[in-house]
């Protein structure tokens, strides 16, 4: 059947370094968001991607800036790895006029077409049919773009997943369905909600290529991503990638993960993908200094973004009359 393990291909250290840059950016941004929320500087529902950084960093490193991304509420790892300006993102999380969406969308609805971040949805599964539409446009335009659609393991049980994968395959759309399998949907374990052993095997139901990879291994994840991107660009159609990963901070910030066996959590954290990737770079003779410099640069950017967000003004209430329709609504 279509399901297969990809071999961890050898990936250049430059690529791994690029992946690390993106993963570390997500890593530090997430830490800052959590401290600001904990400290009361931000009052938002926050879906931490901590633990899933390498999945996105590897996937997005295989894309061009003008490729499209559709993602979900748990999305800063995808958005930042795709290249969205961190200041605009932060300001949107803070509901400020300087945010990507003028504060009107908020954390769950980040959009930034310049970097290909087309849709962020809060409705489980609904990004997949929309991703098909972006890919359909690319197919018609012959612009060579690829659309990546991120979603979770739980989303693979909802109807939109089924309809979208079937349509993508029969139309051979240049789309990649990236299931970030962190083994839980809210408080329900995958095994309790999902009839199949893997998500990847569901590709068979559509005659689609499906692969399951260790998403926390940058080389393996990047290889799978690159293969899927190349196939899509070559007109060979969609791929379903099931990237195995884990989330360290529960569903939303404040979730105590009571439903996750202690050992499972401990083992997952022991296999934290970010330090592992950092170590692998050191093993590849990248110097401690070089990595420390990258981290310092990111730290500065993150601080600057956070300050920018806090210092920015709130939108004017007249915004409630704009962007509802093409013409402004009469007050």
């Amino acid at each position: 059947m279509a399901f297969q393990e990809t071999q961890s291909a050898d990936v250049s250290s430059d690529t791994l370094l690029e992946i690390y840059r993106r993963a570390e950016l997500v890593h530090q941004a997430d830490a800052k968001f959590r401290s600001m929320i904990g400290g009361g500087e931000l009052a938002i529902v926050y879906y931490s991607p901590r633990g899933q950084e390498v999945v996105s960093a590897s996937m997005m490193a295989a894309l061009n800036q003008d490729d499209y991304l559709v993602t979900i509420y748990r999305g800063i790892h995808d958005q930042l790895a795709k290249g969205i300006p961190i200041k605009d993102l932060w300001a949107e999380f803070a509901g400020k006029a300087t945010g990507t969406c003028k504060g009107k969308g908020g954390p769950m609805h980040i959009t930034h077409p310049e970097t290909g971040v087309m849709v962020t949805t809060g409705i489980v599964g609904s990004g997949l049919p929309i991703a098909n539409g972006l890919a359909l446009a690319s197919q018609l335009e012959k612009d060579g773009r690829v659309t990546v659609c991120c979603f979770g393991d739980g989303a693979s049980n909802i109807g939109a997943f089924h309809e979208a994968l079937n349509m993508a395959q029969i139309w051979k759309l240049p789309v990649i369905f990236l299931c970030q399998n962190n083994l839980y949907g809210e408080h329900t374990a995958m095994a309790d909600s999902t009839g199949s052993e893997t998500i990847a095997q569901r590709a068979d139901s559509y005659g689609m290529k499906g692969v399951r990879v260790n998403g926390n291994n940058a080389a393996e994840m990047y290889a799978a991503a690159k293969t899927a991107v190349d196939r899509a660009r070559a007109g060979e159609g969609p791929t379903l990638i099931e990237a195995m990963t884990f989330r360290f901070n529960g569903h939303i910030l404040g979730d105590d993960s009571h439903y996750i066996p202690k050992d499972e959590m401990r083992e997952a954290k022991a296999a934290d993908p970010v330090p592992i990737l950092r170590q692998s770079l050191l093993d590849l003779q990248v110097s401690e200094e070089a990595l420390a410099e990258i981290q310092a640069g990111i730290a500065a950017k993150v601080e600057e973004a956070a300050k920018f967000a806090l210092d920015s003004p709130y939108p004017d209430v007249s915004e409630n009359l704009k962007d509802v329709l093409d013409v402004e609504i009469a007050a």
Partner: protein, 333 residues
């Protein structure tokens, strides 16, 4: 009739076909997605897209799987990057499986993105009672979409408007829901000039009158015109306002008419309770309370699912007779 001379009359079905044909001919970004819409599948179960895939290719006129969420999502996604997709939802009751795509996404993405992305799609769907299609194939659900900020809801009462309104929907930069009726698909009316457009958001004065205004749309507007012509013989002067765009509706035309006649009836085929008529009636009372000679009345179908048996269906639905009765009630006060 020779193919070179223009038809003098066309059906509603031909109007939909001509509008899509003209739109696809003039704008390569217009595409059509829906079940069986391409010619190898018959050009749509109602034949609305007959010949279009032959002319524009099955890349632009695509038959889809039976998967309304996928159809709607594909239309929305393509529209975010420059396309003007027409999504055909065969019957309006089937849009219930795609409400998330329409309501949470099509209607909201412009606002939630702060205006960075827009969703210029047209959803074409067919519905309406009177044909014995029963409870799951006849509902008029326009009130739901009218209540959703960010969408336009449109319905025509004659083939010329049908063509002009559909073209305007396709060219509009907002998501539009365009409602067609099974019962009127084959009905004829004068053909419009090529390139004819009916602006969205503008109602039509279908009949001028001074005693009472009937505000209606779609089939109820056809009935209202009948009623107006019949009552004219009795010397009762009925003005008929055909909304054409149900939401956001043309309050100015409605209010000007009622300010003149000082009596109004709102009529539609949808169930009366919590229907479109309630919004229009409330608006009129809010703005013209002291001018009104009698309260605005509403005519809508019964509070029940659409029954199958023909005797029940006729009793259930809005008819010209019921509209006439409420006109007489209004002017009696």
């Amino acid at each position: 009739m020779s193919t070179t001379t223009l038809q003098k009359e066309i059906t509603f079905g031909q109007a939909y076909n001509m509008a899509m044909d003209e739109a696809m001919a003039s704008d390569p970004s217009v595409i059509l997605l829906g079940e069986d819409v391409a010619d190898p599948q018959g050009g749509g179960v109602f034949k609305a897209s007959l010949g279009l895939s032959k002319k524009y290719g099955t890349d632009r006129v695509r038959s889809t799987p039976i998967a309304e969420q996928a159809i709607m999502g594909a239309a929305i996604g393509a529209s975010l990057v420059g396309y003007r997709p027409i999504a055909e939802i065969m019957l309006m009751n089937f849009i219930t499986v795609a409400m998330d795509q329409v309501v949470n996404h099509a209607a909201k993405l412009r606002f939630m993105s702060g205006g960075q992305t827009t969703v210029p799609i047209t959803i074409r769907t067919v519905t309406g009672a009177g044909r014995g299609f029963g409870g799951q194939h006849s509902d008029m659900l326009e009130a739901w979409f009218a209540h959703v900020p960010g969408m336009k809801v449109v319905a025509a009462s004659n083939p010329a408007d049908a063509k002009g309104l559909l073209l305007s929907c396709i060219e509009d930069d907002n998501p539009c829901l365009f409602i067609e009726l099974t019962a009127t698909y084959a009905m004829k009316g004068p053909a419009p000039e090529p390139g004819y457009r009916v602006p969205l958001g503008k109602a039509a004065i279908a009949r001028e009158g001074s005693d009472v205004t009937i505000i209606a749309y779609s089939r109820a507007a056809m009935d209202a015109i009948q009623v107006a012509d019949k009552l004219a013989e009795e010397g009762i002067s009925v003005e008929v306002v055909d909304l054409r765009t149900i939401a956001p509706f043309d309050a100015e035309t409605v209010l000007n008419s009622v300010a003149k006649t000082r009596r109004a009836i709102v009529a539609h085929e949808a169930v009366k309770e919590f229907g479109v008529g309630a919004e229009i009636s409330s608006r009129i009372h809010e703005e013209l309370f002291s001018d009104l000679r009698s309260p605005v009345l509403r005519v809508g179908s019964r509070y029940a699912p659409v029954p199958f048996s023909p005797v029940l269906e006729q009793d259930w639905m809005t008819t010209a007779d019921k509209i006439e009765a409420s006109v007489r009630q209004a002017i009696s006060k």
